[in-house]
Amino acid sequence: MAVERPIAPGKVKIDDLINEDDRLTKLIYSYLVSATAWLIFGSLVGLYLAIRFIYPDFGVAQWLSFGRLRPIHTNVVFWGWTSLAMIALALYVIPRTSQRPLFSIALARKALYVINASILIGVIYLFMGYNNGGQEYREFIWPAMMLFALGIISHTLNFYKTISLRGTKEIYISNWYILAAFLWTIVVVVIAYIPWYQNALGETVIQGYYMHMGVGMWFTPLVLGLTYYFLPLLLNKPIYSYSLGVLAFWTQMVFYSLIGAHHFVFAPIPWWLQTVAIVFSIGMVITLTAGTGNFLLTMKGSFRKVARSYSLPFILVGVIFYFLASAQGSLEALREFNQLWHFTNYTIAHSHLTMYGFVVFLIWGGIYALLPRLTGKEPSHLLIGIHFWFALLGLLIYGFALMIGGTMQGKSWIEGLPFIHSVELMIPYWIWRAVGGTFMFTSHIIFAYNLYKMKPLPHPHKQIDLAGEQI
């Protein structure tokens, strides 16, 4: 009799189920369903746009035009998919690490409706050509973005209350990052949408601030906070250094806040502002090294565990991309490199390496770590593996194609060749980008199926709370 050989090396089944309030489990699941619906929609739009670079006359209709779909792609994956997915995980992590039930489940449920409404309204208006002004990630008109802010504010209150009533003496480091991300984002959105100081170039200064903080004071701290919980949970050991986490936290707040203007190096905005941004961009290496070092040192000695887990590989990839892609960002701020790469497709590669390689991989790691434990239902390990490899392979193809192509574009401009040359030379790289995008999109479909497989039972029988998930 032939020995049965598994297609993939066996991953360990989870055995430490969490005994959690059913209402919270269902709420978290509904956040993830919304998030994943936006992911499928947003990345489908992205893939369609990638194809348009190769076939510019593919589907000529006003509402399918590049200029209308591009902001839909970016805003949907930012505010719809990534934000809702991170909030879903935070809804678990904050009460858990505060050892106190969530202050109000009803409020969190209402916030989901409000945020979904915000994105839906914003997207419908963008389809109609009602763009706030083409400021990247700020394209939703203010009535739509106000609803988003409302959702964020209600979560802030909910989480603050939960933390202030905590059952522990100390505030766990995750909650520093998570709640700070909410507080910072409220400030960022309010400043970005007040029009008084935004005539002429005033808008550009605020845009440098906004597009930068929108990423780095929302997605980065929130997903890092989640990782400070999930990584130790999965490895069943404490984080390597609490102090390194605290150092990274404060430098994130001070350094990162000052570097928004590095998106406008050589633009006619004040030179001192650009120089401050460049200097602190390099300062970010401290934050970056402290954060990544902390995670990698926590993993040290447990890499067998990483290989045997299906969620830890996502987290490992996320941590590596956190370091590489952020370091790349600092490099791009230097005037020498900026001259070569700014305005080219290199920047598109960078934004996907950070948002996808770093943020989204950490989110997937968190989802695969949490949901099976909450619902007691595990998706097929093989399908998680396919999701992982398709997403990673797709991202690498995407990233390398545009980094190489973008560099060639920059060189073509520096050599003073006719502009159209920089378009013609990009065609093969844009084809590879679409290939990478197809892999990524396929992985999202598989992820959606896996999510469906982890759906909570309508009447779950109570599971025994096993040790292991506690920090």
Binding site: F53, P56, D57, S65, F66, G67, P71, G129, Y130, N131, N132, G133, G134, E136, I141, W142, P143, R166, K169, E170, I171, W176, A180, L183, W184, V188, I191, Y193, Y197, Q198, N199, A200, L201, G202, E203, T204, V205, I206, G208, Y209, M253, V254, S257, H263, F264, F266, A267, P268, I269, Q339, F343, T344, T347, I348, G416, P418, F419, I420, V423, E424
Partner: protein
């Protein structure tokens, strides 16, 4: 009260919240107010109602996702005009009660910079043909086509702006007529002319530093002339005249050729055809040396065999004036 961040949530989150507000005021709001102030260009640098409607279309169709309006003080940006000044943007205000000031500076240069497009390509007709289908004038362009900005009319009346789209791209029946929206958008594009600003001048010339003779000429031609006359010198039938086998280009007396490049041409019949688009003057865009390179390239390419000229010939005609 304990002064310990990890045990005192009020302290921790107050520092996080108010500290960030303080940093934001310092790094965003104060500099924004600084550059937001009114300036002497206000009143000069303003949009007509048509240009303003054009700006609206520019934003809602997302032109600014592929085109920058930001000439940096770098050698590689020189081809797009002089370095941008804060004054260039003084016309920008919130579009209406719902929308904010548009971010025309852009972040991506999938297509060329448009800061000075009104000078670089002043032909209204060219812009319409290009918007109707960019590939009809620039073969390898990947720009979005905007046919919905145009109507197809069987019998356009005399008030209609009929667009001479090349046959290959034109509809089988009827004529392409520009809608008001298309006219407004082109009005905004033609508004984008860099005005002279004291203290800001073109950075030093060294474009053709590594090139000589026909290489430099070919490059200058492709950058400045090929969007109408095409890389193969054949132009576009009934829209832009060919340079291949052109009498002016092949004649022994180059004066007319030089004069056309320097001062432009409009409404003149060439081989019995009056072309709808005008030839824009290049005297302010190109130096005598560059014009000589281009003309010599034209006179020695695509089977042409005209007499070569020097920069001095261009200088002489420039001095004579139109």
């Amino acid at each position: 009260m304990k002064l310990n961040f990890s045990e005192n949530h009020k302290l921790l989150f107050s520092v996080v919240f108010f500290g960030f507000i303080a940093l934001s005021i310092l790094i965003a709001i104060i500099p924004a107010i600084e550059v937001n102030s009114n300036d002497p260009m206000c009143g000069v640098n303003t949009l007509t109602p048509a240009e303003f409607r054009g700006l609206n279309t520019y934003v809602s169709e997302g032109c600014l996702y592929c085109h920058t309006q930001q000439v940096r003080p770098l050698q590689l940006d020189k081809v797009f005009g002089r370095p941008s000044s804060p004054l260039d943007y003084s016309y920008l205000t919130p579009l209406d009660q719902i929308r904010m000031t548009p971010a025309v500076l852009g972040s991506e240069r999938t297509g060329p910079d448009l800061s000075n497009i009104g000078n670089r390509q002043p032909s209204e007709i060219w812009h319409h043909i290009h918007l109707y289908n960019p590939r009809s004038v620039v073969k390898s362009s990947i720009m979005q086509a905007y046919p919905w900005l145009y109507e197809i009319k069987e019998n356009p009346d005399s008030n209609d702006l009929v667009i001479p789209v090349p046959d290959e791209y034109a509809p089988k029946n009827g004529k392409v007529v520009a809608t008001q929206k298309a006219k407004d958008l082109v009005a905004y594009l033609l508004f984008l002319k860099q005005k002279p600003i004291e203290g800001i001048s073109q950075i030093e010339e060294s474009t053709s530093k590594n090139l000589s003779g026909s290489d430099a000429g070919a490059q200058l031609f492709n950058t400045n002339c090929a969007s109408c006359h095409q890389q193969n010198g054949e132009g576009i039938s009934k829209t832009f005249p060919p340079l291949k086998n052109s009498a002016t280009v092949n004649s022994d007396n180059p004066d007319k050729h030089i004069r056309t490049v320097l001062f432009g041409l409009k409404g003149e019949a060439i081989n019995g055809i009056v072309y709808p688009a005008e030839m824009p003057p290049q005297k302010d865009n190109l130096t005598n040396e560059q014009i000589a390179e281009i003309i010599n390239y034209e006179r020695s390419s695509w089977g042409n065999n005209g007499k070569k000229i020097t920069a001095d010939d261009v200088r002489k005609i420039r001095a004579e004036g139109k």
